[in-house]
């Protein structure tokens, strides 16, 4: 169980979170949504141990994550960051092997992991890319390599920071389908930030709507992504359309229009 207990956090003088508590539902896909500056990235960074809260604690299986050795945290929690850097000197296989670092001494031999890594690469359909440099791959392939690196960590929790941002539509949905499959088949607890509310509606078990550093609403997607809440928090007029495949959000524009 990963939870925030009465956490406070501020950027300089600006307090973003005050006495904030939250528990991630295990084995589910939780999506964080909210307008820019709502605190979702900060929350993501708090949960993934990138920034330290000024008060309160973040607890993983009853242990404060800041008391855990970095390696132990990495065995349980894997993160796919938003990639804005091109790795022109890094080969695919080199990167994926690094996913095993939490389990090895830094000077150790990693040969026994090969079968495991091969299986992950097959699963993500990147088996034939092993010897390519990262910069030679398409955005969708790069994203899958980062996911493979995260899976090599054999985590219980997988965090995805806007995983669809640099992908075209086809790869956005292909990636999210993969995420859903991993959640169902490997029982991974997944937490991601998404900007596309229709994707949030379709791919989440839980949605957390944040604004002004507070949870505006938390629950299943259909409870959270409603016309009223979206209009109130994003300033967008919209309409929920029901189809045979499920509910969709149709945006009709800002109030300023």
């Amino acid at each position: 169980m990963l939870e925030l207990k009465q956490v406070s956090f501020s950027y300089g003088a600006k307090q973003l979170f005050d006495n904030f508590s939250l528990a991630l539902q295990e084995h589910q896909i939780t999506t964080l949504i909210g307008p820019n500056g709502s605190g979702k990235s900060t929350l993501f960074r708090l949960l993934t141990r990138a920034i330290k809260p000024s008060a309160g604690e973040i607890v993983l299986d009853r242990q404060d994550i800041w008391q855990l050795p970095v390696k132990d945290f990495a065995k349980k929690v894997a993160i796919v960051h938003q990639q804005n850097q091109l790795y022109d000197q890094m080969k695919v296989i080199e990167l994926i092997k690094m996913g095993r670092l939490p389990y090895h001494s830094l000077l150790g031999d990693e040969e026994d992991d090969n079968a495991q890594l091969q299986a992950i690469m097959q699963e993500l359909e990147i088996g034939d890319l092993a010897d390519k440099y990262m910069a030679q791959l398409s955005g969708g392939q790069q994203q899958r390599v980062w996911l493979a690196t995260a899976l090599a960590q054999k985590p219980e929790y997988l965090f995805l920071d806007e995983p669809t941002t640099y992908l075209d539509l086809h790869f956005q949905y292909r990636f999210l389908d993969l995420v859903k499959k991993l959640n169902r088949e490997q029982n991974l607890t997944i937490c991601m930030i998404l900007h596309d509310l229709n994707q949030a509606l379709q791919y989440s078990d839980q949605v957390i709507l944040l604004n002004h550093g507070q949870i505006q609403k938390q629950g299943n997607p259909e409870e959270v992504i409603t016309e009223a809440l979206i209009e109130k928090n994003f300033g967008i007029k919209c309409q929920i359309a029901e189809t045979q495949q499920g509910k969709y959000l149709l945006m009709s524009g800002t109030e300023a229009k």
Partner: protein, 308 residues
């Protein structure tokens, strides 16, 4: 790739043996191995041989040191010679000569302290600077240390160079240098990890700061020891690893191994050329390296600019 590595090793071995042989018998006076006088044997064993060994070890040490600097600072033109590490080592070695005259170990220890001091200064700046700004800081530090040294030496050369190699300085260089090079081989894979950014490394359970400090300590040890024994030599730490990347790609296990052997050969080659080309006079290795190294550095930056 395996075939390529075998070929490169073969070529380097032949070059090394050929150049060592050439350097032994050529110089201010040329010898013939068949009939050598006692004084010629003396020159060969007590003057040329230590100089050859010094060049080999220092060339390997400075090239590997350069490769580690580039990995840890994520910068292709980082190098101990142009970033003030070597000149700080040299300045401190001069202080040792004043405080503890005649004790060679003192010179080496002081050099390493000086190198570490300059490295600590660079670390202080590193957090706030882009890689290229950091190079400029390094160049500025270099100017300061060199200037301070000039004050002590009254603007004359500090005196240590390959030409002053003796068996005693060579033995120190050989022992500490080889220890440093073995450490470099043990830890060279860490340089590969640093190709990934710090945030990413942390989430993989690795402390980037630990990687960086260990590699930098090895790099400083290598550069400072070489500097204490043969003086400041810039650019070799950029040229050799960069050629390794061009030929072998970006795996630091390959870059470091190549830099070790190619660096050893390259410095011996440069020194030998300088020794024979206008014999009985000499052109110092640092002069030749600067003449080649400056344009080479511009070329690297030019290529990167074009690729960017």
């Amino acid at each position: 790739m395996r075939k390529k590595v075998i070929w490169i090793n073969l070529i380097l071995t032949i070059l090394l043996i050929g150049t060592i042989y050439f350097a032994l018998i050529h110089g201010a006076s040329d010898f013939s191995l068949q009939k050598m006088t006692n004084s010629q044997l003396n020159i060969m064993f007590n003057i040329r041989l230590p100089r050859i060994i010094s060049a080999l070890v220092a060339g390997a040490a400075l090239s590997v040191s350069g490769a580690f600097f580039q990995a840890t600072l994520r910068n292709p033109i980082a190098e101990p010679g142009i970033m003030g590490i070597s000149s700080a080592a040299s300045l401190f070695q001069l202080l040792a000569a004043i405080i503890l005259p005649g004790i060679f170990v003192g010179k080496i220890v002081f050099s390493i302290i000086g190198g570490l001091g300059a490295f600590a200064l660079l670390l202080l700046f590193q957090k706030r600077m882009t890689p290229y700004q950091l190079i400029i800081i390094g160049v500025a530090l270099n100017a300061v240390f060199t200037g301070m040294q000039d004050v002590f030496t009254n603007n004359q050369n500090g005196g240590t160079s390959l030409a002053t190699s003796s068996w005693s300085s060579t033995m120190y260089l050989l022992i500490i240098g080889v220890i440093g090079l073995i450490l470099a081989i043990v830890f060279m894979n860490w340089a590969n990890y640093l190709k990934v950014n710090d945030e990413e490394l942390t989430s993989l359970g690795v402390s980037p700061q630990t990687l960086r400090i260990v590699l930098m300590l090895i790099a400083v040890l290598l550069a400072a020891t070489a500097t204490a024994c043969i003086g400041v030599l810039a650019f070799i730490g950029i040229i050799v690893p960069q050629i390794a990347r061009l030929i072998l790609g970006y795996d630091y296990q390959r870059i470091v191994s190549f830099s070790m052997f190619a660096g050893a050969w390259f410095l011996l080659f440069v020194d030998t050329i300088g020794r024979v080309i206008i014999a009985p006079n000499e052109i110092a290795a640092n002069v030749i390296l600067a003449i080649i190294g400056g344009p080479f550095m511009i070329l690297i930056l030019w290529r990167r600019q074009k690729n960017a």
